[in-house]
Symmetry: C2
Amino acid sequence: MTSRTQLVASLEGLVPGASELDTDELRERHAYAAWSCLTEPGDAVAGAAIQALGAAGALDAARSGSAAPADETWVAGVRRWAPRWSGISDAFDRARTCGARLLTPADPEWPRHLDDLGVHAPRCLWVQGSPAALATGAAVALVGARAATGYGEHVAGELAAGVGGAGITVVSGGAYGIDGMAHRAALAGGGVTVAFVAGGVDRPYPAGHASLLARISEAGGAVAAEVPCGTSPTKWRFLQRNRLIAALSDATVVVEAGWRSGSLNTAGHAAALGRPLGAVPGPVTSAASAGCHRLLREYDARCVTTPDEVLELLGHEGADAEHPSDRTDDRTRLLDALSARSGRMTSDVARRAGFSEDEAQTLLGFAELDGLARRQGDRWLRGAETDRHA
Amino acid sequence: MTSRTQLVASLEGLVPGASELDTDELRERHAYAAWSCLTEPGDAVAGAAIQALGAAGALDAARSGSAAPADETWVAGVRRWAPRWSGISDAFDRARTCGARLLTPADPEWPRHLDDLGVHAPRCLWVQGSPAALATGAAVALVGARAATGYGEHVAGELAAGVGGAGITVVSGGAYGIDGMAHRAALAGGGVTVAFVAGGVDRPYPAGHASLLARISEAGGAVAAEVPCGTSPTKWRFLQRNRLIAALSDATVVVEAGWRSGSLNTAGHAAALGRPLGAVPGPVTSAASAGCHRLLREYDARCVTTPDEVLELLGHEGADAEHPSDRTDDRTRLLDALSARSGRMTSDVARRAGFSEDEAQTLLGFAELDGLARRQGDRWLRGAETDRHA
């Protein structure tokens, strides 16, 4: 058991107002952070133990080696985590040095969206910039291939500027290509943007994006990692990082992606979490769009072509979401006279709409052709297409 | 009542073996053709009367002015058709002159797909080339904007060549742009292609496609119209023609279309008929693809990028429809050990798959992240994503 003084010293600078928290609150925050040092992202054994015992309780159990959830999985976990105990305090020091903040599920500002990951939720986030950027308001992930084309970067820029300008947080992975353009355009439009990185936040990756990541932090956004400072980005950590992008965001849009792009992994997480998924189409002749078309075909992703359509994905109505109707006045009157539930005779429809029966029958025939009206015996109902034309 | 001799003379050259048909068979065929001369496409009043009385019976009723389906709609119809009686025999003569064949619902080779249009079904088809091209085998409509881009024409060519080469009839509208390229590429690939035209088959439209339309007829395909020879193409007839393209085809694919393109009308007919609908994506920056993206978004059209994906739309498996799996061996073993219906304990999954329980739990955790496995209490089931990865 660590003393209160030790806990306050350990969290100093990482958790604002640490000295005002009670001991249990300090212990819990410290334990979450310690768990992020002991485990690889997504460690379900640790996640299950934390769910059962709390972060501090599970940490005590792991430290004492007691087989709390007495099974061999736990024992293997304890063995797996053992080599990393000694690195915890170093990780805390590094975070302090680089000015990172610690955000844990015990904090009120913790982004609750991440809890949807269950036992795979991150233990904590190490954040540069503004932790509030992670928790407040609607967020959309704009992700895509590093090997983006000029077309893809152009569209990423348009979408990020539009979405960011509408007050939606733009979430991405800080990589070259689509990610970088999404961050940059969100910033340029005065929007808030969040970058989840695969290594420690003190290790800007890719190095060429060090200044971009710094600008994100300085402009009210956040650069966040679930792994502690000093950790290098590995393939595994990139893949796991993708689940954070998907989980934090209310919707994920893949702008450009090859057939096997890592962005499809992010999209898969979004789909698994039940979050809306969008994909930007491109030329079928472009390999850089093949992954997007795959999402449209295999994942029922929604086709997204404008910022307004991204907002629609979030359930926000875009500025020109209502396209000018191409119904004629006659057709409008006709459809107004139909019900979706109770069938009406042609004569009834004619009377309601103010048509001769002849006119009504003709209009009904054409409306039927367009799926706007349907027959039920000798009665007429609104058709399935009505909403699309409304 | 027309005499048998008159009927045989009237159908001479238009219906092979006319002289061997009995009088009722002749009357019915003649009446269908006469109806096509009297009515505009899609005349539901005539359609309903024909459904009720047969083509010849309805024609007699219309000629005698008897109010068979005694209502004002019918009376208005009789008045509407009156001015055209005198043109019937001229239309038959024109058809004979240009070598057209007459195909009616009374003929065994009548394409039954068209009957799905109900009272809006065409009365007959005037055909140049091979009527058999209309009735045999699977058909796909490849349609799109006249104002196509180089990209659109390229893709139309690829799809038509691939689909035509696979023995599927390519149906289109004979227009400039996408339609023309679809016909041409189908022909170049040795495939059969059908053009539905909006005016009479003796009036090639557009004039610049006269030789293309002639080649279609000569190469085992067909150029078909529901309006009689001598009829000019009007906007109404173009729109109605679109329903024939959609109804004859087992699936409709829009290759390139502006936001208000007429191709969307064809797509709407396909959707209303319950036929599969595909759309080829393109750059979101291209106005010529805006209609396709609209179909993807608003009509649940399927995203189509290759000829194989067109075949899939028809329910045919394409050559490379099975993409190389990206599952690892471990994952394969794990999924093999899961059932979609009965939940299994981790220990059971481990035993079945030949993993340690620890390994199984870890793999299950990752599989869960990817939506390949899901929990039910402490048991595991196959996840919803499994089929996509299988």
